[in-house]
Amino acid sequence: MTSPLYEPVKDCLTRHFNLDAGQIHPESTLEGLGLDSLALVEFSCVLQDEVGLAPLAGTDTPADIGTMTLTQFVTALEELQHRTATPEAETPAPTTQAPS
């Protein structure tokens, strides 16, 4: 996984949720890693603290991100990062859904 956001995301999962780094893979889903809906909201809050991006600050729900693989999730975070960096650009309504 080459996205610069992958390691910070993985780091949040290991440090905050005490997950074993060995069980976290690009194809892991957040639900599959044991994060329930409240934990997913917590994860969003932690990411806002740690990398300045809050995937659930918009209209997305925990269910929307819980089933994403980490690859999809990090891609969605990159899109969020891009929208945050260029707010004047014409962008569609906020979403963290990964491209299919």
Partner: protein, 408 residues
């Protein structure tokens, strides 16, 4: 009289003296205070406390600790030890017949303090969604139930500094009413938070002895000047004596009587004549089917505040006209662990009966005015003990007295 014995078959302790029952008991028997300067309290008017030393929640309990506040982690660690000590197995017990009652004196400051800081820093949307399930007092009982598969009655009891003792009394009633076969009961408190320290120091309830913390908690001594904040958890496994015998359990002691009363006098101070204390003690004696002369040792509430210790001592002198039996306050060693205090002191009372040994009161040099007690000090006192009482009182005028009887 046809009595139903309530047996204590398991103990779990996590105190400033150690992470287990045996280490906690050894620490209390040294009579040496555990108070020390507390880095987390830096900048507070009172910057020392009695901390649980070296508690590693992740190593002790596993990865799910991220969602739990410190007092919940303490409760689970103590509950696991108590269940193991009782030689019970959550794999095989009927969870619907098991209950859990845990006293907590104050709500957790850790989760709420974090949320408040985020609110005032202009970051309200980063407030943890787990703030409520981390901080509410019931979560110690709730998470212990999840951890051990307890599906009978579960609840928090909150009577301030009497919470742990009141929880044991409620648990006793659950067993006598046949609502459960086994109850895990006690108290848990993670009180060494700057805001908690600040709140109690503003009440002038804490000893201000910042230059000599180890001499600060000195129950009944003439130079006492307030209590020392401590943190702890204590859980006792209770079951009816007949049930304990049927499964050949080792009975550590019998929980013979419980008495409770309310002062209805003042929100923080005890009734000046200790009327509520006396009522609770007489009620416990009646419940135990005992006379004052049957009580051979008292683990006092003994917080080390000028007012509490004098009122408690005078109430005991009235209850025992020929002189109260030997008294100790283990808060000299552990500090005042608030909602956990009544539970850990109940465990120390059980251990005193088992070992026939009264632990000493730390820092007791000479009695303050109005204190006419035989305070055990300097070294543990070996003594034949058949019945021990443990006192706990709380802001709001709550009084709870527990009586334990030796198993043999």
């Amino acid at each position: 009289m046809n009595r139903t014995d309530i047996a204590v078959t398991g103990l779990g302790l996590l105190t400033p003296g150690g992470l287990r029952t045996d280490t906690s008991w050894r620490s209390v028997c040294t009579g040496l205070s555990t108070a020390a300067t507390d880095p987390e309290l830096k900048g507070m008017p009172v910057d020392f406390s009695c901390r649980v030393p070296g508690f590693d929640a992740m190593a002790t309990l596993g990865p799910q600790v991220w969602r739990m506040d410190r007092f919940v982690q303490f409760a689970i660690a103590a509950a696991r030890e108590a269940v193991t000590d009782a030689e019970l197995s959550p794999e095989t017990w009927d969870g619907a017949r098991v209950g859990v009652v845990i006293g907590v004196g104050t709500e957790s400051k850790y989760a709420m303090d974090d949320a408040m800081q985020r609110r005032f820093d202009g970051r309200p949307l980063t407030v943890s969604p787990l703030t409520v399930p981390r901080m509410t007092t019931n979560m110690a009982a709730g998470e212990v139930a999840i951890d051990l598969g307890i599906m009978g009655p579960s609840m928090a009891v909150s009577t301030a500094c009497a919470s742990g003792a009141t929880a044991l009394g409620v648990a006793r009633d659950l067993l006598l009413a046949d609502r459960c076969d086994i109850v895990l009961a006690g108290g848990s408190e993670a009180s060494c938070h700057p805001v908690t320290s600040l709140c109690f120091s503003q009440m002038k309830a804490l000893s201000p002895r910042v230059k000599d913390p180890a001499r600060a908690s000195r129950p009944f001594d003439k130079d006492r000047d307030g209590f020392v904040l401590g943190e702890a958890a204590g859980i006792l496994v209770l079951e009816r004596g007949a049930d304990a015998d049927a499964r050949h359990a080792t009975v550590r002691a019998y929980f013979q009587g419980y008495g409770t009363s309310t002062d209805a006098y003042h929100y923080a101070a005890s009734h000046p004549h200790g009327a509520g204390i006396e009522r609770a003690f007489r009620s416990a004696l009646a419940d135990a089917g005992m006379e004052p002369a049957d009580i051979e040792h008292i683990n006092a509430h003994g917080t080390s505040t000028p007012m509490n210790d004098r009122i408690e001592a005078q109430a005991l002198s009235r209850l025992f006209p020929a002189g109260p039996p030997p008294v100790t306050s283990t808060k000299g060693v552990t500090g005042h662990t608030l909602g956990a205090a009544g539970a850990i002191e109940a465990a120390f009372s059980v251990l005193a009966l088992q070992d026939q040994l009264i632990p000493p009161t730390a820092n007791f040099d000479s009695p303050g005015p109005g204190i006419d007690l035989d305070v055990v000090t300097a070294a543990p006192r070996e003594q034949s003990l058949r019945a021990v009482a443990s006192n706990s009182f709380g802001f709001g005028g709550h009084n709870s007295v527990l009586i334990f009887r030796a198993a043999r």
